[in-house]
Symmetry: C2
Subunit: 439 residues, 2 copies
């Protein structure tokens, strides 16, 4: 995938005045000798921090490499780790500096198939768990991370199902070993993974599902036996419901609540970490330092304590599994099991809301505030929400590649070429390539 023709604005807002500069520097002659670069809209992270660091920009269409497919994206999934990535608290993957196209999850139709790809054809309806770059009109993905979706599954359902239910399935059955008549406690059961966990747990006979969620979400949440308000003393509530403790705790909070949760686990029970932390900062900066401090304050566990307690501690991290540990066949097996459950009607994904790429900031804020019940979807074909006049300058840049005027494109090309001589930009390029290679 070639990224040399253009580059991002590195977080700088485009000003209509600046766009004229491109006409005055002699780049036009050079441009005419090259074929026009096809462009697409993409959600680009231009710096680490708040939602303003995320912008919809024009990027060159990706070039297909061996082993990859090119997908015309119809729906994208927004996930909690995307917020952490934006704040700069995930450094792996991708080990990339900004700018880069965000997005781990999408669904769409295959437009082209690279050399060496078997089992996938142009026109196939698929979902993909990309290492990054899924939030764009087009994406190239190594075929090992691409899954054919069932005929009756919409693209929206595909992004609501693939990641969340695969994670939930692995947590409950591969890691958590959930059996009938057991009790499972799910932190934040109202989220996308939380709802997937609750539904999948209910496919096992006589499982008691205890979950926490904000009070205002309670009416929208189903498949939970005992729904608790996260702001209350949930430990005491759970002890009333299940005095012996629970068989399985699925913790997406980590940190300060880990000990509470561990103590709720009954002998022979399991405690599973499914996320590093939920403690995102609300400010634009300093997030890395404050989070690092938070992580280190998490208690370490003596293996001897596990021995005396007859307990199990597990971690599950799908991205590590896919991109660092080479377990793509393992994940494919799980995705296929989940699709089968979908086709059988045993699971019904819950979509909270769907947003235009340009409204990704609002979508992120909804997820950050835990206002969602179910999956938050980005739709490249959706019209953005109309904005007040002061936001119009930025919004002008939305729309398809055809709408963009040539001068603006030339300006971006020029900017990128100027920057390519700078060490910082080279670093970005290398890091992004590195992330791509590790797919």
């Amino acid at each position: 995938m070639s990224e040399t023709a253009t580059n991002d604005t590195n977080g700088k807002e485009l000003d209509p005045k600046d766009q004229k500069n491109g006409d005055q520097n002699g780049e036009d002659d050079k441009k005419e000798t090259q074929p026009p670069v096809k462009e697409m809209r993409a959600v680009v992270l231009t710096g680490f921090g708040g939602v303003k660091t995320v912008k919809v920009l024009k990027r060159p269409e990706p070039q297909l490499s061996e082993g990859e497919v090119l997908i015309r994206v119809k729906a994208c999934g927004l996930n909690f780790p995307d917020l952490m990535l934006r704040q700069g608290v995930i450094d792996n993957p991708p080990k990339a500096k900004v700018p880069f196209i965000m997005g781990f999850e999408c669904a769409g139709e295959i437009e082209a198939v690279g050399e060496g790809v078997t089992g996938l054809r142009v026109g196939d309806r698929v979902s993909a768990l990309c290492e990054s770059k899924a939030w764009a009109e087009l994406v190239t993905v190594n075929a090992k991370y691409v899954y054919k979706i069932p005929a009756k599954m919409s693209f929206e359902d595909a992004v609501a199902v693939t990641l969340n239910y695969a994670v939930a399935y692995a947590l409950l059955f591969n890691v958590g070993n959930l059996k009938s008549d057991q009790t499972v406690f799910i932190h934040s059961v109202g989220g996308g993974v939380g709802q997937a966990l609750a539904q999948l747990a209910k496919t096992v006979g006589n499982v008691t599902v205890i979950g926490t969620a904000s009070k205002h979400k309670h009416e929208s949440i189903s498949n939970v036996t005992n729904l608790l308000d996260h702001s209350t003393d949930y430990v005491q509530e759970i002890k009333k419901i299940s005095p012996e403790g629970v068989d399985l705790v699925l913790d997406c909070l980590c940190g300060e609540d880990a000990n509470k949760g561990y103590n709720l686990v009954k002998p022979m029970g399991r405690y599973v970490f499914l996320r590093r932390t939920s403690k995102l900062t609300t400010g634009e900066t300093k997030s890395v330092l404050s989070l690092a401090k938070f992580w280190w304050s998490t208690d370490k566990v003596s293996p001897m304590r596990l021995f005396d307690d007859n307990k199990t501690l597990s971690g599950f991290n799908l991205r590590q599994l896919l991109y660092q540990q080479g377990k793509h066949e393992y994940v494919r097996d799980i995705v296929e099991r989940v699709y089968k459950l979908y086709s059988e009607g045993q699971i019904k994904p819950l979509v909270d809301s769907s947003w235009a790429l340009e409204d990704v900031g609002d979508a992120m804020q909804k997820l950050h505030g835990r206002k969602n019940v179910g999956k938050i979807v980005l739709d490249p074909f959706k019209e953005p929400i109309p904005r007040p006049p002061e936001e119009v300058v930025e919004k002008k840049r939305k729309g398809s590649a055809k709408e963009k005027d040539n001068k603006e494109k030339e300006k971006e090309n020029k900017d990128s070429k100027e920057k390519s001589g700078q060490s910082g930009d080279n670093g970005d390029k290398k890091a992004e390539d590195g992330a791509e290679n590790s797919k």
Copy 2:
């Protein structure tokens, strides 16, 4: 169960000269007014330290309480934790000071059934996982820790199967979740639990069993795909056999080798601690301190590391499960599954050797030195090994209660009564009662 009539000699050797003292102190008159106390031989821990702290002494026959059965013991199991208990490095259970009758595991015939016991009758052939006191001619055990053995199972096989295979079964299937085509690494595969693990792992399709054992044992060990010498660099050997790592590590060594073992686990794999430590001292004293230091030096694990590594850490401690955590029904289920496998011929326990109660010291030294392949059994009916003359004084005390002369018995009774006024002895009594109550 009454323990007031007599008490132990607290480690002091009985001297034939001392036995006359009992005749001279007027105790005879008192004695005549009471029914004679029936006595039995028992292996008593008289102090924490080396094998000399373990003695065969006369103890009153246990009194049956509600919910218990009285078992005529035909075979006893010697296990690694017995060595740790002797050295004073296990304080729970039993939270007892010396002296007390040792022994966690036995098999025999029910001689009496207490009130409230259902499903067990006089004459039933059973095994029992007692909290203590199993190494005696008779033992009373709460019925919830007693299991009827299959008709064709010898008592020797019963003690070779019950504990070791129940532990191994729980480790492989309830904790370790072993599946076909996986690879398991077993430390000390030549021991009783090790051989049980290897056999049970082989009941799963296409499982690769890698184990370590001392070179001299290799010929006697079966059911192991790759047998390594523990003194070599087994990590490198395993990496050659299974470059991706192993699915399951069963660690009875803990401590310094824990990190080596953890790093051998592949993503989605499991690391299980099945013992606190193997580092027993060879001296008679200071064992507690040196072991405490050893335990603390064991690395603690950050839960975030598990998350990034997609790994699981578990502990399994059968005694905690039975006596502290009330999971006796859970254990019964496992024991019954194991007996079924035995009856089907899928497992064949390996008995290393059988010893008289009086030879328990030699038996312990064999286990301590890891010279055994399979289970070490104590047999209350077996004749002790003839000893050189200097050991005869102690050996005179072997044999059935009937062989013991009345003077000696009176001496012991008197000793015990004299000591009962001392605070130390009271403390012993209380602690032992406490251990009994917690059954």
